[in-house]
């Protein structure tokens, strides 16, 4: 039981390049989330999903896209990388119960130069 896994752990991108951050869970949770964490700040919600085929914007969605074709996977896509997207990205999952705990992956550190 791996929980929430994220790949890659670290990536350097050039401005304008695109990439997909992968998130996979084996907890059978319907809810999944993408956050970014900037230095000295808390986590900001980018996108979330309440089930396969259903996604919605969070607080800071600009510059990102998501899809959710299966319960297990929730990839985050950066189409045109910008220096402002340099951050640490965390994926999380939650059971479909109100006020439940979120479980976090280990994070992906992204540097855009």
């Amino acid at each position: 039981n791996a929980g929430v896994t994220q790949t890659p752990k670290f990536r350097i991108l050039k401005i304008g390049q695109s990439m997909t951050l992968q998130c996979t869970q084996d907890m059978n949770h319907n809810y999944m989330y993408w956050y970014r964490q900037d230095p000295g700040m808390g986590l900001k919600l980018i996108y979330y999903s309440v089930g396969a085929g259903i996604t919605d914007k969070g607080e800071v969605p600009n510059g990102y896209n998501v899809s959710r074709s299966t319960t297990e996977d929730f990839p985050l896509r950066l189409e045109l990388a910008a220096p402002s997207q340099t951050s640490v990205y965390f994926c999380a999952t939650s059971p479909t119960v109100a006020r439940e705990t979120q479980y976090f992956g280990p994070g992906t550190r992204l540097l855009v130069l």
Partner: protein
Amino acid sequence: AQSVTQLDSHVSVSEGTPVLLRCNYSSSYSPSLFWYVQHPNKGLQLLLKYTSAATLVKGINGFEAEFKKSETSFHLTKPSAHMSDAAEYFCVVSHPGGGNKLTFGTGTQLKVEL
């Protein structure tokens, strides 16, 4: 709207002394509140959560927090700090409605000295 304010960005204590990390919340309804811990270069781990049951909540590693509605506070405490407690701590409030969305505080960096 829901929000949390962590009153200290950095706290430094000596090993074996008490820890107090302060958090105030703002919510238009009865909230769920969480404390998460993040060790260097790691993901976030749940320490404890309050969901309208007992107001004194016990968590892992000897931490506890007390929900005080009259003071809109949810401070995190531990009687005796250990070197392994050095980490960043986040106070978090839940959103109402669907999705179990969370709002994070800006974090408190705890330093533990010998």
